[in-house]
Symmetry: C2
Amino acid sequence: MSAPTPVFLAACRREPVPYTPIWVMRQAGRYLPEYRQVRSRVSFEALTRTPELAAEVTLQPLRRFALDAAILFSDIMTPLSGMGVDLTFEPGPVIGQPIRTDAAIDALRPLEPLRDVPFVLDTVRLVRAEAPRGVPLIGFAGGPFTLLCYLVGGRPSKEFETARAFLYESPRSAERLLDRLADAMAVYLGAQADAGAQALMMFESWGGLLAPPEFERFALRGAIRTLTALRARGVPLIYYLNQGCALLDRLASLPADVFGVDWRMPLGAVRRVLGPQKAVQGNLDPAALFAPPDELARQAESVLREAGGAPGHIFNLGHGIWPQTDPDALARLVDIVHDRSARGGVHA
Amino acid sequence: MSAPTPVFLAACRREPVPYTPIWVMRQAGRYLPEYRQVRSRVSFEALTRTPELAAEVTLQPLRRFALDAAILFSDIMTPLSGMGVDLTFEPGPVIGQPIRTDAAIDALRPLEPLRDVPFVLDTVRLVRAEAPRGVPLIGFAGGPFTLLCYLVGGRPSKEFETARAFLYESPRSAERLLDRLADAMAVYLGAQADAGAQALMMFESWGGLLAPPEFERFALRGAIRTLTALRARGVPLIYYLNQGCALLDRLASLPADVFGVDWRMPLGAVRRVLGPQKAVQGNLDPAALFAPPDELARQAESVLREAGGAPGHIFNLGHGIWPQTDPDALARLVDIVHDRSARGGVHA
């Protein structure tokens, strides 16, 4: 007898589910006192590189809330250290020598996960061993363009001007860097799946800074290269794009199973553009967790209704949960989503 | 004999024009050495409050480039000091006592421009006296919701979490504050027009942080209130929205003549949604100014083509020009836009 497919994985595959599954981006994070307690003892970087601690904070939200998936605690920049990038967190990622020449690009080492990020793979194994039954683990990586934003810019900035100018100044070098990063992320995500990750997610957090032609030429090029390499594994692939409203019709060429979008794009419109073969993930405004309980319920029901029913919908926030959020509000949200979707009343 | 209507104003009214007019957001700014020279002697705040200097930097870009409009040098937060807000620039606007209660909202004084911002009105008069013939002056104000973001949050932040949470926590107070700000901005813009501003623009820079229902309830409420009060003046009204792709169909109810959008939304799609009665303004990616000349020309032609012809199109960047931009690139852009649109070749 085999165990039933976890609800989250069934939803990724658009199979029938008893209720809409929910997890939230950054669910292992600063809004939880138990996370802050761990972080008070170690740096962010040490936390990402110590499997016992990274697994502990990955599991923390699952002890509090009836979440339907876990997501690896790590940072999208973490694997780049292994490629020879001089990376520190202050607290945002800072690159000692920004990558802006072909020589610097060619000096990047191909990623070898067993050598370069063994601690990530150990974290995956530890979480798999300890996570509750029926709660799959999502592995993740940054989208190649989002990684380029940090590597070229050198440090986080609001508009990533240096990286965006680089695309126009040196488009061939940008493509060269994107291809390197895409190949590295394919290997990285593949290794996470080998270690036990049951779904793989790409965060293209800054793709929405690009106009459609540049998005297609640069961001989509990289994402397609990574996801195509992973397609044959049969693990659900999730692609998240922030600020991507004007880019949605370009995503059809992406070999992903699930598309996550931010809170500004109604999921009904997303489904109409992407078609019935794709699942959607999202997209409550993280600010809605500050509403009184009845308004939070109304907002959550609106997302469920826009998504058009449980099959093929994974509930999430439209962006990471804010550090100042009351954990009790997330507890309420999880209950609302499970309760309303199981009853199906939101489709009336 | 009356002088011919300036090209910029004709385009705002969708009248026939000999070429597509162009100006760029933040054209009076840090990318110009002559601006930096003035700023090296006075603080930003002093610059905005000294009519001779504010007029000087407003006029600087007109001496270098064949721009078709001037825009008042000021800050969207400047009039709020006159309402009793404890405002400093460090360099972003910082509010000593953030406005988060009904008592604080009710303590805001109604704006009386002659008493509170005489230096702005004097700047308008000076610029009008000195600007080249045929180059109209645009007055401006912040959108009420964008002003709320700063007033509630207290200082600039990437996501304006405090202000966005406030909308969900205290929606009635938010509406109360928006109405106050909307009335103040109507009076403020009206006074600029009385002093000589020939078009009025509202910058709703952060409206795109809201999901459509909250945009409609909060941001649009304020903008409609301000613009409706100005409608009867017959001065062209321009509304700029950043990150507003998912909100475009909600804008139809706004009594504006011209809609400016960021670089991510193709102008052809904007025109299809807004209809033939509205002019559009924009929307080259500010990063495109870093491209080699031939690629810059290709990018500018693409914007002209998307806009569908000169009548009812005002060329601009999709966001403010970056401080690190080479002024020569803007000179090239102005020539390209005038040349290509006069020849009409981009419509082939």
